[in-house]
C-alpha cells in the first residue's frame, strides 16, 4: 500500500545466514536436550517444546511477511491457514492413537464415539496415512487460499476491505470448528496424541528430532521465500504492491501475481501449523481466533516488514517476551502487547531490521520515497 518502509529484494542479504542460524540453534537445543539431566548444558523438555513452538510461529510470521511485506496485503486471517495445517496433522495424530483411546475404538477417535457416530466422515478417510496428512497440511490451506484469493483479487478487493474480509474468514472458520457436528472435536479440538510415525511423542528423542525437523523446514521455507522474492516474480510482486495499476498497463495481471504468493504463503503457514501441533500436542478452534492472526502481524512489524529475516526474528522475540512476561507479570502482558503495536507503528515502522540497517550504514543512503496514498494509474 505504501512504499514507506520497504524496499523489496535488496534487504534479503541476511536470509541465508538466518536459515543457517535457525538450523544451528534448533540442532544445538535438540542435542542439549539429550544430555543427561545433571549436565549444565541440559535443555529441559519444556525448553525444547517452547523452542519448537517459537519456530512454528516463525513460519506463520514468514508467511505473513510474504503477503504483507512483499504484496502489500495486510492479512488479518493467516492464523486460519496455520490452524488448518494444524488440524490436518492433528487428524493423523488422532488416528495414530488407535485403540489406546478412552473408548478403545481402533478406527474412531474418542470424540466421535462420544457423539455416537458410527463411522468416519469422508474427509477423515486416509488420515491414518502420514503421507496423506502431510499432503493435506499444505493442500487444504492452499486450496482455501486459492478459492478465497481468486475471488478477492479478481474483483480487486484491496486495502482495508481485504483485511476485514480475511478477518471475517478466520472468524467464520472459528465458529464452524467450535461446532461438534463438523467432526473436528468441537470445543476441545484434537489432543491426547500418543505417537507420530510409531515414535512416542513424549520421548525426548522424538521431541529432539521434531525440533530439528522444524528448524530445517523453517530454514527451507526461508530459502524458498527468498527464492520467490528475489526472482523476477518477486520484483513484479513489489511492483504490484506499490503501483498495481501500472503493472496492469504493462500487460501483467496483478490478480494472478497476488494469488500465487497468497497460496504459497498459505501453504507455508499450514506447514507451520502442522509442526506446531506435533510439538504443542493440541489444536483447538481457539487457534482461529482473529486476535491470533493480528498478533502474527505484529511479530512481522516488530522484526521488520519485507525482510523475511525480520519475520523470524520478530516471531521469536515477541513470543519469548510473552513467555517471560506472562510468567513474571501476567497482568501486564496485554499492556505490553498493546504498546508494542502502537510503539512499532509509530516509532519503528521498519522494525528491528530497519534499526540494524541504520546502525550499520549512515541513514543518508536510505531512500524514502514520497509517501503516496494513491496508487499509480491515476490520471
Amino acid at each position: 500500500m505504501n512504499p514507506f518502509s520497504v524496499h523489496g529484494p535488496r534487504n534479503l542479504r541476511g536470509v541465508i545466514w538466518m536459515a543457517v542460524a535457525v538450523v544451528v540453534v534448533a540442532g544445538g537445543l535438540a542435542m542439549a536436550s539429550l544430555l543427561p539431566e545433571g549436565s549444565p548444558f541440559h535443555a529441559s523438555a519444556f525448553v525444547v517444546s517452547l523452542a519448537g513452538k517459537y519456530l512454528a510461529y516463525a513460519m506463520l510470521a514468514l508467511s505473513v511477511d510474504l503477503v504483507w511485506g512483499f504484496a502489500g496485503i495486510l492479512t488479518l486471517g493467516h492464523a486460519a491457514f496455520f490452524a488448518l495445517g494444524g488440524y490436518a496433522m492433528g487428524m493423523y495424530l488422532m488416528r495414530e492413537i488407535g485403540a489406546r483411546g478412552v473408548y478403545g475404538n481402533a478406527s474412531l477417535p474418542d470424540f466421535m464415539i462420544f457423539l455416537s457416530w458410527k463411522s468416519l466422515p469422508w474427509y477423515w478417510w486416509g488420515s491414518e496415512h502420514f503421507a496423506w496428512a502431510a499432503l493435506l497440511v499444505v493442500a487444504v490451506p492452499g486450496l482455501l487460499a486459492g478459492v478465497f484469493g481468486w475471488l478477492a483479487f479478481r474483483s480487486r478487493v484491496s486495502g482495508v476491505y481485504l483485511s476485514i474480509i480475511t478477518q471475517a474468514l478466520t472468524y467464520a472458520l472459528m465458529l464452524a470448528f467450535f461446532q461438534n457436528g463438523l467432526g473436528f472435536g468441537g470445543n476441545n479440538g484434537l489432543t491426547d496424541f500418543k505417537d507420530i510415525l510409531g515414535a512416542d511423542l513424549h520421548a525426548p528423542l522424538t521431541r529432539a528430532v521434531l525440533l530439528v525437523v522444524t528448524g530445517v523446514l523453517l530454514a527451507a521455507s526461508l530459502l524458498a521465500a527468498r527464492f520467490v522474492v528475489a526472482s523476477r516474480f518477486g520484483h513484479l510482486l513489489v511492483a504490484v504492491r506499490d503501483a498495481e495499476n501500472r503493472t496492469r498497463f504493462l500487460g501483467y495481471r496483478p490478480d494472478q501475481v497476488k494469488l500465487l504468493v497468497w497460496v504459497f504463503s498459505a501453504m507455508v503457514a499450514g506447514l507451520g501449523g502442522a509442526l506446531y501441533v506435533t510439538q504443542v500436542g493440541i489444536i483447538n478452534p481457539g487457534e482461529f481466533a482473529p486476535a491470533n492472526s493480528i498478533e502474527s502481524v505484529i511479530w512481522v512489524a516488530v522484526g521488520g516488514r519485507g525482510t523475511l529475516c525480520g519475520a523470524v526474528l520478530g516471531a521469536i522475540l515477541v513470543n519469548l517476551g510473552k513467555t517471560l512476561f506472562t510468567a513474571w507479570l501476567p497482568e501486564f502482558w496485554l499492556y505490553g502487547l498493546g504498546f508494542l503495536f502502537i510503539g512499532t507503528t509509530l516509532f519503528l515502522p521498519q522494525g528491528i531490521m530497519g534499526l540494524l540497517r541504520h546502525v550499520r550504514k549512515p541513514p543518508a543512503e536510505e531512500v524514502t520515497p514520497e509517501v503516496s496514498d494513491t496508487q499509480g494509474g491515476e490520471a
Binding site: V160, E331, G338, F341
Partner: protein, 531 residues
C-alpha cells in the same frame, strides 16, 4: 382434695378419649384419617358457603392445617395458631396436634373444590382466573361445575372463558356416540381461542379414530389454520428480533462508518469504546443510586449524554495522540488501534475486574408486551427507537451543521476540502470523536441486553466491520440497509440452521458479496475515487 382429683381426671378423660368428639359439622371430616371422609368433607365445604371454607381449604393445600385429637382444627400461621372454624387466634396451642395429610386423590379433589368455589366468587377477576385454571386442566369431573357456573355467570368475558374451558374439557374426554354436536361446537370454540394449548387438544381430536368424521375435519381445518397463524406470528417475531439486532448493529457501526468514511481508517478500538460506554452507564447508575436515589429509574437517560461525552472526548484524544501520526497509512492505523484496544481492555479489567458487572435495567424497560402472537421485549423495543433517534440526529448533524458539511466535504475530496479552507485536522479529530461518541451510545444500549465485561467490544467488532464494508463507505443509508440486512438475515436463517451456522452463513455471504461488489452496496462512484 379427692373430688378435685376426680374432676381433673374426668376432664382429662374428656380431652383424651378418642371418639369423644366435641364437634360435628362440615369441617369434621377433614380431620379424619379415612380418605373417603375427607373427600366428602371437601366437597361439602366447597358448597357450604361457610366464610371460613376458602381459608381452610387453602391451609389444607399448603399443609398448614392441623387436627387435634378432640376433632378441633387449627391453622398454623407462623408462630401462632388460629381455630379453623372461627378464625379466632387461640391462646394456648393444644397438645397432640397432627398435620392433616394429603394424597394425590385428595389434592385433585381439593383443587377442583377450590376452583369451583372461585368460579362462584363475587369478584369477576377471581372467577376469570379460575376459568383459566380449568381451561388448562380440562378435568372431566369439572364439567358439571362449569355448567353450573355458566348458568349463573353474567360477566361476558368470564362467560367466554368458561365456555372455552368447557370446550377444552369436553374435547379432552374420549368421543362418544351422541355427543357429536356438542364436540363440534367445542372444536369451533377452541379454534377461536388459538394458542398452543388449544392446538394440542385439536390436533389430538384431528387424529383420533374414535371421532366422528365431521368433528375430525373441523378439527383438522382448525389446526391448519392455527398453524398458519402461528407461523405468521413466528415470522413476525423473528422479524422483530432481526430489526432489534439490526438496530444494535446500526448503533455499533455508524460510528465506525463515519471514521472510515471521513478518514479512511478502521478503528479497531471501536468495540472498546462501546465497552467503555457500557461501563459509564454502570458508573452513572452507581453514582445516582448513592447521591439521588429518587432518580434511579432515569439513570439510564442520564448515562446517554455522559457516555457520549466521555467516549467522544476519548476519541478526540486518541485522534490527536495517535491516529494523526499515521495519516495516509490505513493499515498501520489498523494495527495501532488494535494495540490500543488491548490496552483499554486490560485497563478496564484491572480497574473493574474481569467479570461481568450488573448494569440495572430500570423497571420501565423491563418485561414485555404481547402483540398478537408476538412478544415484544421493552428493552429491545427501546433500543430500536433509540437507534432510529440516533440515526436521525446524526443525519441532522451531517446535513444541517457546518461540521457536518465539512465532514461530508472531506469524505468526498480531502484535498479539495483543504484547498477550500477547511481545517482537515480539526475535522478529523471531531469526526473521530463523533465516531467514538456514537460507540459510547451503542454501549449504553448494549448494556441493557448483553453482559457487560471487558470483552464486550470484541463480540461486536467483527459484525460492525461487516456492516461497514457491506454498506459501503460514506453513506449512512448504506450503513442502515447493511445493518438491517445482516440483522434480519441472521434471524431469518437462525430457525432453519441454528444460530452459529446462521452467523457463519452471513459472514460467508458478506465475504462473497464483497468479492462481487468490492465497494459495498452503495459505493461512491466517479473518476476521483480510485483507491
Amino acid at each position: 382434695m379427692r373430688s378435685a382429683c376426680l374432676v381433673v381426671a374426668l376432664w382429662l378423660g374428656a380431652v383424651l378419649l378418642p371418639g369423644a368428639c366435641a364437634y360435628a359439622d362440615a369441617f369434621s371430616g377433614l380431620g379424619s384419617a379415612r380418605p373417603d371422609e375427607m373427600l366428602g368433607a371437601i366437597s361439602t365445604l366447597a358448597v357450604s358457603g361457610d366464610p371460613q371454607a376458602g381459608t381452610v381449604l387453602r391451609a389444607l393445600g399448603e399443609r398448614h392445617l392441623f387436627a387435634a385429637p378432640d376433632g378441633g382444627l387449627y391453622i398454623r400461621q407462623g408462630e401462632t395458631c388460629v381455630d379453623a372454624r372461627t378464625g379466632q387466634p387461640v391462646a394456648t396451642v393444644p397438645d397432640g396436634l397432627k398435620p392433616v395429610r394429603l394424597n394425590n386423590r385428595i389434592r385433585t379433589a381439593l383443587a377442583g373444590a377450590q376452583a369451583s368455589m372461585a368460579l362462584l366468587a363475587p369478584q369477576a377477576e377471581t372467577r376469570l382466573k379460575a376459568a383459566d385454571a380449568l381451561y388448562a386442566r380440562h378435568d372431566p369431573a369439572m364439567v358439571p361445575t362449569l355448567e353450573h357456573a355458566l348458568s349463573v355467570e353474567k360477566d361476558a368475558a368470564v362467560r367466554t372463558r368458561l365456555m372455552q374451558a368447557r370446550a377444552a374439557t369436553i374435547l379432552a374426554q374420549p368421543a362418544q356416540q351422541d355427543t357429536q354436536d356438542q364436540r363440534l361446537e367445542a372444536v369451533r370454540s377452541l379454534a377461536a381461542v388459538g394458542g398452543l394449548e388449544a392446538r394440542g387438544i385439536l390436533a389430538g381430536v384431528a387424529q383420533s379414530d374414535a371421532e366422528a368424521p365431521q368433528v375430525r375435519h373441523a378439527a383438522q381445518a382448525a389446526v391448519s389454520s392455527m398453524d398458519w397463524h402461528l407461523r405468521a406470528w413466528s415470522v413476525a417475531q423473528n422479524a422483530f428480533y432481526g430489526l432489534s439486532y439490526g438496530s444494535v448493529l446500526l448503533l455499533a457501526a455508524t460510528g465506525l462508518a463515519i471514521t472510515f468514511g471521513v478518514m479512511g481508517v478502521i478503528n479497531m478500538a471501536h468495540g472498546e469504546m462501546m465497552m467503555i460506554g457500557a461501563y459509564v452507564t454502570w458508573m452513572v447508575q452507581q453514582a445516582i443510586r448513592v447521591s439521588v436515589p429518587a432518580l434511579e429509574p432515569v439513570a439510564i437517560l442520564v448515562a446517554i449524554p455522559v457516555a457520549f461525552v466521555v467516549c467522544g472526548g476519548m476519541g478526540v484524544l486518541i485522534e490527536r495522540g495517535l491516529i494523526r501520526f499515521l495519516y495516509g497509512r490505513p493499515l498501520e492505523t489498523l494495527l495501532a488501534t488494535w494495540g490500543l484496544s488491548l490496552i483499554l481492555q486490560q485497563a478496564v479489567r484491572s480497574i473493574f475486574g474481569p467479570t461481568n458487572i450488573a448494569v440495572q435495567t430500570p423497571a420501565w424497560l423491563s418485561g414485555s408486551v404481547a402483540v398478537g402472537g408476538m412478544d415484544i421485549t421493552l428493552n429491545r423495543l427501546a433500543i430500536l427507537v433509540f437507534a432510529a433517534l440516533v440515526l436521525g440526529g446524526l443525519m441532522l448533524v451531517l446535513r444541517r451543521t457546518p461540521l457536518g458539511l465539512q465532514m461530508r466535504a472531506v469524505t468526498q475530496n480531502r484535498r479539495m476540502a483543504a484547498l477550500m479552507g477547511i481545517r482537515t485536522p480539526r475535522v478529523d479529530a471531531l469526526a473521530f470523536g463523533l465516531g467514538a461518541g456514537l460507540a459510547g451510545l451503542a454501549g449504553v444500549a448494549v448494556s441493557q441486553i448483553d453482559n457487560v465485561s471487558p470483552n464486550l467490544g470484541q463480540s461486536y467488532i467483527i459484525d460492525s466491520f461487516m456492516v461497514v464494508v457491506f454498506g459501503g463507505v460514506g453513506n449512512l443509508w448504506g450503513t442502515l440497509a447493511a445493518a438491517m440486512a445482516l440483522g434480519m438475515g441472521g434471524k431469518v436463517l437462525e430457525p432453519a440452521i441454528g444460530a452459529v451456522s446462521a452467523k457463519i452463513a452471513i459472514l460467508v455471504l458478506v465475504i462473497l458479496y464483497i468479492q462481487r461488489h468490492p465497494r459495498g452496496m452503495f459505493p461512491v462512484r466517479g473518476r476521483g475515487v480510485e483507491s
